[in-house]
Symmetry: C2
Subunit: 227 residues, 2 copies
């Protein structure tokens, strides 16, 4: 089995992405971040998801993006919006996916993995710039210039490092269907931006709204535990 690094947040999308990577035959190394997010419940969820989907290893790396702030997710002084907003919302964390993919790349190079999976989605999403196909393609190009494996394979036609974003063109309902078909237990995942200490979801933030609509559109029961 080929190794792959899979970014795992504990939410619905990354759990589905991990299930897809596993179904494609990769030995999955899951990577989560304690990045100063508002709640630690999602890290416990990531651990449960990783165990259920039999990852080879699950690492939680501390990287304190709250030292920079600038987002409702990393600065508790900025409230999480509970109504739709115009433009890129304040829940956008500056350069978060760039930082996460960079660290995934570092680990991938050390364990000699050529494949990185990320659960970004550009259909039912919050409009974050670092969830779009052009961003993923640009990161993949960068990865092949940044690394030893990329340089040493420079004479080959194909760039060796691939960044997989298998959900990028799927609507939320399709993601839910895909995950259920692969046996994902969404009851253990947490998507909410502001769950309570027990991990129960608010039901009102952008992430809760997108998730709830996904289950509804897929015509399946929503297993989310709401406050």
């Amino acid at each position: 089995m080929k190794p792959a690094v899979v970014l795992l947040s504990g939410g619905l999308d990354s759990a589905t992405t991990l299930a897809i990577a596993r179904s494609e035959g990769y030995a999955c190394y899951a990577l989560s971040f304690a990045y100063g997010q508002r709640h630690q419940a999602e890290l416990a969820a990531a651990d449960a998801v990783g165990a259920a989907l039999q990852v080879v290893e699950h690492r939680v790396m501390p990287i304190d993006l709250s030292a920079f702030g600038g987002s409702a997710l990393t600065d508790t002084a900025i409230p999480v919006p509970e109504l739709p907003t115009q433009g890129i919302p304040v829940t956008y964390v500056p350069a978060r996916n760039t930082v996460f993919l960079a660290l995934a790349l570092a680990w991938a190079e050390v364990i000699d993995a050529r494949d990185i999976f990320i659960g970004v989605n550009a259909v039912d999403y919050s409009g974050y710039p670092d969830c779009r196909p052009a961003f993923i393609a640009a990161f993949e190009a960068l990865a092949n210039l940044a690394t030893k494996v990329g340089v040493e394979a420079a004479e080959d036609a194909a760039a060796p490092i691939r960044v997989h974003a298998p959900l990028i063109d799927l609507g939320k309902a399709d993601i839910v269907r895909r995950g259920l078909a692969l046996g994902v237990d969404y009851a253990v995942t947490i998507s909410c931006y502001q769950p309570d200490n027990s991990g129960a979801a608010c039901g009102r933030c952008d992430s809760c709204r997108l998730r709830r609509q996904g289950f509804e559109d897929a015509g399946v029961a929503d297993p989310t535990r709401y406050i």
Copy 2:
């Protein structure tokens, strides 16, 4: 004065880069990393350099790349080579500059800086892939896709975020001459991969050899304190 984030390691190249950024009129926010490197002396050097060159702020961010290892600089079980080696040396830290630039980008976005400076050099260097012009250009392209400011300026002709690598085409002697002309005190910088606890340089590693040769070729006294 426009703000800029300047990556500052405490070595000769980043000190020169900071001096150049300052001479170009930027208000400099210096960023260093406690990334699990072999020695902390370089962080003390970075602090001294930042103070001497009057940065607005100097941050040291912990990001433990030694959790991944895979380099002589982040894994003490891998010795630092003291003779020239073939290919990319074991002192290469997987994806290090990708990680550092990603975090510089995060800070830049929060403080509304459009300019990032990095002291990479592709002439008298160790052959690291993430020091080459193509890597810097790819990161700049990524940065403009990854961020709010990049997206919001998408209709402009010019991409708003710039990654400056003012040393990239300079030989080490030219870097030394440039820095001296700008008043850099190289006595406080540390380039060595394995200094002793007092910060004295080994004189034998690749980084020491390149630095020593730079002073010699520039025809100036080498202020480095050797073991």
